[in-house]
Symmetry: C2
């Protein structure tokens, strides 16, 4: 079910929104196009960040384009998001981020005041994270050939000795921890887009997770896998990991933190929160003996206060992700076939 | 004349094409917005690439967005250009590029076959350069919110011991070398855009210069400054360097290599080749005693076969760039006020 052996139709097909949606079509595009032609040992690591070796250290680089719409949303904007998103990709290798770069693609006619607001927000996020934006680039395209601002950020980080994180280390029996409530980012964006009003304003969870990760890997260097469930949400992320690890995953619906307002908004919007993007949450795979220690550490950090054990890795050649529902049944959590929320990050 | 003390009008202004054009408006935007808010010692180096320190080595990172139109042109396409452009930014620090990342922003409806062609071209350029694309990202925006494909590449490189390249090392008396003919890239793009026909097809000079730079810095580690004259051409590049070095520059029109076809096309199109983008050329500032050695080395490399001494650094507080014309007069080569050729890279 999870195989990626159906290559995209290069001769006749067109790019559509599913190719950027975090689901199966994107995975097929990556496997069939980018990994195929740009083939090298680094891309084959299958991480969001690449581990590169330099004479005296293990560095990681990661890059992320940001095309979120709207540019400003409750809890952040494209500037802070572009910092958080790439810092998190670096952190998910267990690395300490050192530097960021930023490439802007601007649309003719975009207000300079809005651009300034975005850059200020980016600068604030970088300062709070303690990671500088060390170089950048700006391009402008004609009106109607872009959409305000796109930002591509790239990060460089260093991996502490003894830390080896990757889907290849995921094994049956390991536990899966989640750092907090799901769906906050995607629901905040969509509510803003649709002009929905709730009793309390839904806020994106956009945040930099590298300090939380630093605390976790310092306490338990043997963590097997970390991943932030962004585009495609927890469902897409777990399917990617199951596929890469050739193992099954079973999660428990009742254990997954979900804010009542977010749950209500998801119902109203017809969304399954498992597929909704997060920008300040992480999934952690570890040995059962380490769960209590990790939960204790995570819950002391404001970004991990609601951390919980949400699942277990199982033996399953089909690499299925399944969920025990609140009603006691077992449901397959499949890859998302298409695009649920375009331009969510 | 070259001062950047006129900040952009953030409250009332709009982004326009001049902000991406490589001229004064872009310099003002960078100084008044990005450098101002993202302020750190790395951005203050004022290079296209940032020198970052890691425990045991000097690394450089550089990022470059590519929005060229048309995507395919004589001599290359956006895929090869995105590799060459960033490798060259890294090389202009005197560094050996090690790794690249690539972020794609795709427009819904873009043909997959064209995307494949671009990725294959990118892979070929990376392989020929010996520098892998180690990680990437893909986003898709709705039809009409992008323009086919934008690619942001970021590079990481290592600077050899003893090499210290930067505008701060430019001094009166130094000589300026140019590696070959000017204007080839910009004229090839514009001819394609305008469907102009010439007797021979005008080809972009898009190429990776890092091996040429490696040979140059190995022979003369004391090179003061290197820069590839891309957007805004030789004129914008020399003005930027003069400004940063607080020195004058005098160039000699007759010494600047220019292909007859390119000269003819520029006349037809109303372009001054000094302002036209190059993608496979470099300017080198060095002590007079090193010019012959460097020219000898450059001319042995296919990318430097036409290398020539084109100018001298002078004492001039106004930081003017001046050119001795073929007719013996002296003409100020000013910054480009606006945009000459949008989306040239």
């Amino acid at each position: 079910m999870n195989s990626l052996d159906k290559p995209p139709r290069f001769a006749t097909g067109s790019v559509d929104l599913t190719h950027g949606g975090g689901g199966r079509a994107m995975a097929e595009l990556i496997a069939g196009l980018f990994q195929r032609h740009l083939k090298n040992p680094f891309l084959e690591q299958g991480h969001d960040a690449a581990l590169v070796s330099v004479p005296q250290g293990r560095l990681v680089m990661s890059t992320d384009g940001h095309v979120i719409s709207p540019l400003f949303f409750p809890g952040g904007d494209i500037g802070s998001l572009a910092v958080h998103g790439t810092l998190n990709d670096i952190a998910m290798s267990g690395a300490r981020p050192l530097y960021l770069t930023a490439g802007f693609i601007l649309e003719e006619g975009f207000p300079l005041g809005d651009l300034e607001r975005i850059v200020i927000s980016m600068a604030g996020a970088a300062k709070e994270a303690g990671v500088p934006v060390v170089t950048g680039d700006t391009k402008v395209v004609e009106k109607g050939k872009g959409d305000g601002v796109f930002i591509t950020t790239t990060g460089l980080g260093v991996v502490p000795d003894g830390v080896e994180i990757g889907p290849g280390r995921v094994r049956p029996g390991q536990k899966i921890l989640l750092s907090g409530s799901i769906g906050d980012h995607g629901v905040a964006i969509l509510s803003k887009r649709e002009n929905l009003e709730f009793e309390t304003e839904l806020q994106s969870d956009s945040a930099a997770l590298h300090r939380l990760v630093g605390e976790m890997v310092a306490a338990v260097p043997s963590i097997a896998m970390l991943r932030d469930p962004t585009r495609g949400g927890v469902a897409a992320t777990l399917n990617e990991i199951a596929q890469a690890a050739r193992a099954g995953i079973q999660i428990d619906e009742a254990s997954i933190p979900l804010k009542p307002d977010v749950a209500a908004a998801c119902e109203l919007l017809g969304l399954d929160p498992l597929y909704v993007a997060n920008e300040g949450k992480l999934l952690c795979f570890c040995e059962p003996r380490d769960t209590e220690k990790l939960l204790g550490i995570m819950r002391q950090n404001p970004l991990g206060r609601e951390a919980a054990i949400v699942g277990t890795v199982t033996e399953d050649d089909r690499a299925l992700v399944q969920m025990e529902t609140r009603f006691g049944g077992l449901r397959v959590v499949d890859w998302l076939a298409g695009e649920q929320l375009p331009r969510i990050c």
